[in-house]
Amino acid sequence: MKHFKIFIWKEFLHIWRDKKTLLIIILLPIIEVLLFGFVLTSEINHVSLGIYDQDNSDWSGELTRSFENSRYFDLIRLYNEQDVEKALRGNRVKAVLKIKPEAEKSLQMGESGIMQLLLDASDPNIARTIEVYIMNMSSRFMKQAGNRKNLLDVQQLMYYNPDLKSVFKSVPGLMAVVLMLICAMMTSVSLAREKETGTMDVLLISPLKPGQIIIGKMVPYIAISFVNILMIIALSVFVFGVPVRGSLVLLFLFSGFYVVCALSFGLLVSTLVNTQQIAMMISLAGLMLPTTLLSGLIYPIRNMPRWLQMLSGVFPARWFVETLGHVMLKDSPVYYFLQPLGYILLITVILLLLAARRFKVRYD
């Protein structure tokens, strides 16, 4: 075992000497989490909302004030249809809530359809979010006002993420992307470098077994991955208040499975190429793009065409995001994890079999 340990030590030295790369793989997760948490957010704060109150009753005044007091909205009062039109067109407001004349009376008589919501849907995601906020606030208002009748036919309850913070969704996706990047790209590049410099032959001729060479290459990146996982979780919990409702042990266990899967990708890539550059190209274009786009991090998987949905299943990121969602946000019972976890294991086994086959073809 001593000769295996010294091999792993050598791998750590390689990483340590390459300070630039080390800095990138340590800082990248931090930057990404901050970026997704602060910038690429679809949650709303101080959205300008126009209110066109045609009723001017006590009731409508109270409703307006409840919006005024909310930190989500900055209220702009509008007084006629032209105002409404101009405000929306001129980007002064993102949405307009129209309260119809005689709304209070109609309400008391049990009629529905007393309000109208106009949304600027040029950014559909934001529009959709604003809609949900307004509906929530109005129904809360109706309840407080002691009105039994619902303003809206549908009552919405936001489970697990009541404020619809997008960082809740991004954290699992980011972990998927970052771990894929570090594990798959770095191992494939590191193995390709040994081939490029001719050190691979030296290693294979030495008493080290091929399996030891491969595992030795993986160990340092597994260690770095767990450092990254810890950093991402710490940032999301302490800076963005993302909850970890399920068990941390499970979270690390699943991350471990995913890391091994990503490493197998890197291993397969390295058996296909001879140079570091091509290894990097394949990892970036062939793995990073699909991982980012198809994992549900940016675009919801349900909105994709059927064939893309099926394609996304080939990449482990999708299943990892799903399991993480269960653990972090929902604390679901274990049997919910089994299916996505099963897929991750299946993908890992297939990748390892393919890689072993390629490795044999090359060196045997």
């Binding site: 001593k2 000769h3 010294i6 091999f7 030590w9 050598k10 030295l13 390689h14 000497r17 390459d18 410099t197 001719g198 050190t199 032959d201 030296v202 290693l203 294979l204 001729i205 030495s206 008493p207 080290l208 060196y363 045997d364």
Partner: protein
């Protein structure tokens, strides 16, 4: 009779329809410098990889250091050293880290690594460069260091794959002095090269053409046999034969 360190009988390697190594049979005696010559693509590297336990032969027999290449490649690996032109140590590791790494993967005990490592550095006059990165050293020094490290575990046999490629003539001289020193310590040297002047330094030479051994003897005897004045002419004659066959 000298002790045999390598023995092959009809050793063959095919890749699909292509026969890279075609039924070669030869022996290497303990303690000699055995030159393995041939043009690029003649099958030298393939033959060497089979002997190192890196490739399985298609057919034929071979033993290296008394171990069978089919079944005992793990044993073979512990008894050989290897160095190639392409490889000159890990450039992002220091001199001493490279020494520790090689000695370590060949399972040398800690104390032996330190004593032999220090001795090696003194012999090469590199003791002051111990903590420098390999990448900062000139190629010639790297090659000499690579050779010393390749035999730090005192293997019974060392394979050198075009070890002096790209190195200046003076360093090549020094390099061959080091090879002679190694044989004095009882290490057998198996060397491939395409420098014909280097071929003259070998005890015996095998000339490979198209996967077959076309000549195997001492340099002096080969020159007699092919009626040529230098190894270079012997090589040219063999190469011409090949091109005539092709026509």
């Amino acid at each position: 009779m000298a002790e045999k360190i390598i023995e092959t009988v009809n050793l063959t390697k095919r890749f699909g329809d292509f026969t890279a190594v075609d039924a070669i049979s030869f022996e290497v005696n303990k303690g000699e410098i055995f030159g393995f010559l041939g043009a690029n693509g003649a099958g030298k590297t393939t033959a060497m990889k089979m002997l190192c336990g890196l490739l399985l032969p298609t057919s034929g027999q071979a033993t290296v250091a008394g171990y069978d290449v089919y079944r005992q490649s793990e044993k073979i690996k512990l008894n050989i050293g290897y160095m190639s032109q392409k490889f000159s140590l890990f450039s992002d590791l220091t001199v001493w880290e490279n020494i520790e790494f090689y000695a370590g993967i060949y399972r040398m005990p800690r104390q032996a690594i330190i004593t032999r490592g220090e001795k090696l550095l003194q012999d090469l006059e590199l003791a002051s460069q111990k903590r420098r990165l390999i990448g900062a050293l000139p190629l010639g020094i790297r090659q000499k260091l690579a050779f010393s490290i390749a035999i730090i575990h005192e293997p019974r046999l060392v394979f050198l794959d075009e070890p002096t490629g790209g190195v200046d003539p003076i360093t090549r001289r020094r390099f061959w002095e080091m090879i002679y020193n190694a044989t004095e310590r009882g290490i057998t040297v198996f060397v491939t090269t395409h420098y014909m002047d280097e071929a003259e330094y070998c005890d015996r030479i095998s000339m490979m053409v198209d996967g077959k051994i076309k000549g195997l003897d001492t340099p002096a005897n080969l020159k007699l046999q092919f009626k040529e004045k230098s190894m270079f002419d012997v090589f040219l004659q063999l190469a011409r034969e090949k091109s005539h066959e092709a026509l």
